[in-house]
């Protein structure tokens, strides 16, 4: 994803210039390369291919704080993999960046679920932004919609389809595959991760629900408060029979304000064809928001491209740079 971000930053130079935003990349951290920094800027025109030019020698700081310091970082793009149960190491990275006076932009939803209040307060205290548009629906504008475009609106609840992998698997099973074949297909096309359990068992969707509830409804919800059921028990026959009966299965997310707080769930559900969620296929996703002003305001993202997650981070970067 970071390669996609570097490419997108390069492609959007004109739009950034128009906004009087200049940048240089002064640090890179990947599992393969380790921590590299050069406050003068790194010539990474070929980073898109993850080749660091041999002619360049960078400093190799010992830890993330030292790396941020060497890089003189103004903005950190955090894109580690999700650990749904701890939010680490992303939380430590973001905390370090904010404490050192850099904006922190993440595509990892763990920190929202496990440290939203802390990181938001820290960002406010430091006069920096903590932004995370790419964490839900691949960078489609959800958080910014509520923050910037829907002032003085109260969110009562939402329902939606938020996990691509399970949606692709269900579509493939409807088309005739069994569960294992459908999973393999999803891995082959690059939707499912090598270890797909987070998706299959509903964890990915659950963490997204928790992120939306925490940020948009203002209720910090713990993962164990969200009812969770994955799609692992569904067989190809069951899924095809449901589709034939015009009540297809979808992994549906729900959240609703109650007198006690928020009730939320993630579970496979049979939907009538009159329900717009029934028609969300493949990698598409959707959320219907119920607000006090709009009884049903939905954002749908069909067939997201490879750039959408990177775009969410670019959009956050522009927001952070605009101040």
């Amino acid at each position: 994803m970071n390669r996609a971000l570097v490419r997108l930053l390069q492609k959007r130079e004109p739009e950034l210039r128009e906004r009087e935003i200049a940048y240089r990349i002064t640090g890179v951290a990947t599992r393969r390369l380790g921590l590299l920094a050069d406050a003068n800027g790194m010539d990474l025109s070929s980073l898109g291919n993850v080749h660091i030019p041999a002619s360049q020698t960078f400093k190799s700081p010992a830890n993330v704080r030292e790396w941020l310091r060497e890089a003189h970082a103004d903005v950190l793009f955090e894109a580690t993999s999700l650990d749904p149960h701890t939010g680490q190491p992303a939380i430590d990275h973001i905390r370090a960046a904010l404490e050192m006076g850099a904006h922190a932009i993440t595509a990892n939803k763990g920190p929202i679920v496990h440290a939203y209040d802390e990181l938001r307060s820290l960002a406010a205290a430091k006069g920096r932004r903590f932004l995370f548009e790419s964490t839900v629906m691949d960078g489609a504008p959800i958080f910014s919609l509520f923050r910037d475009s829907l002032p003085a609106v109260h969110l009562r609840g939402f329902r939606g389809i938020l996990n691509s992998t399970t949606n692709v698997i269900l579509s493939s099973m409807e088309a005739g595959l069994n569960f294992e074949q459908a999973l393999r297909r999803a891995q082959e096309v690059g939707v499912a991760e090598t270890d797909p359990r987070h998706d299959i068992d509903g964890w990915d969707a659950t963490v997204k629900v928790a992120a939306l509830v925490t940020v948009l409804m203002g209720v910090p919800i713990r993962l164990e408060q969200i009812e969770r059921e994955g799609i692992g028990k569904l067989t190809g026959e069951v899924v095809r029979a449901a589709r034939a009966a015009e009540k297809p299965y979808k992994l549906v997310c729900h959240a609703k304000r109650t007198s006690q707080g928020v009730a939320a769930s993630v579970a496979p559900e049979q939907l009538p064809l009159s329900d717009p969620l029934a028609w969300v296929a493949g990698t598409s996703s959707v959320v219907y928001f119920e607000t006090d002003i709009f009884p049903g305001l939905a954002i749908t993202e069909t067939n997201p491209g490879v750039e959408t997650t990177a775009y969410g981070m670019l959009a956050d970067f522009i927001r952070a740079a605009a101040g």
Copy 2:
């Protein structure tokens, strides 16, 4: 609508206070009351019922400019009815407000189609805002989405259902009514205007398409450049046969960038049930945007309430006041 706006302003006092926005109503202009102004503020707690307290005596300026001056207006809410062919008198009202240093917020899409560049330049020159979120989809965030939440995204085109009256009429015809009965029903429930020709003939949708193309695609398009066909030729039988064949009629709006500019149309179309537009019923509306980043990003508004158009103006007011 202005009554709804006054009520909503009152209801959202806490949210406005939280944003340090204070206001007083210093002028009112309606067909029945004429022009009334009092720079000290008007006690219109009962304006919701369009009763001006008899104890209050207001100045009655002779024209709109004098009225704005008497009112010491900082913000004008413009909500006259649409004249699709001239955009008047809304354009004159907005021009007057901006020239006198007031923000101009309109729910009338005529000015965008007939004077967008002029009014936008005038607003910029005066350091004021010209905002119009309520002109398309009843105040659902469309313009603000692209302006504030989708930086550096390029819009290639869109398709959608943007006129409630025709959509309600088509739904009623599918349910068994003929065209005249369906129109009467739409008028009874307050969706269709007394003179419904703007809706039936596709003018309302055409003006909305022109507004979206002009603002979001940056291409000023004239109404006569948009292919337009209304629903007046559709009979109940034809509409019901189409629904029975699972290819229901919808009044569909299209716009697409071409080498020459933008090609746009409004016309009844038979849609397969696999098309999400086929399921948009009654007063709901939807736009699918095709951008260079998001191949399909849709905003859907289901069953808008009475407050949604007023909300669009309130949201614009908050944006203008925030500076």
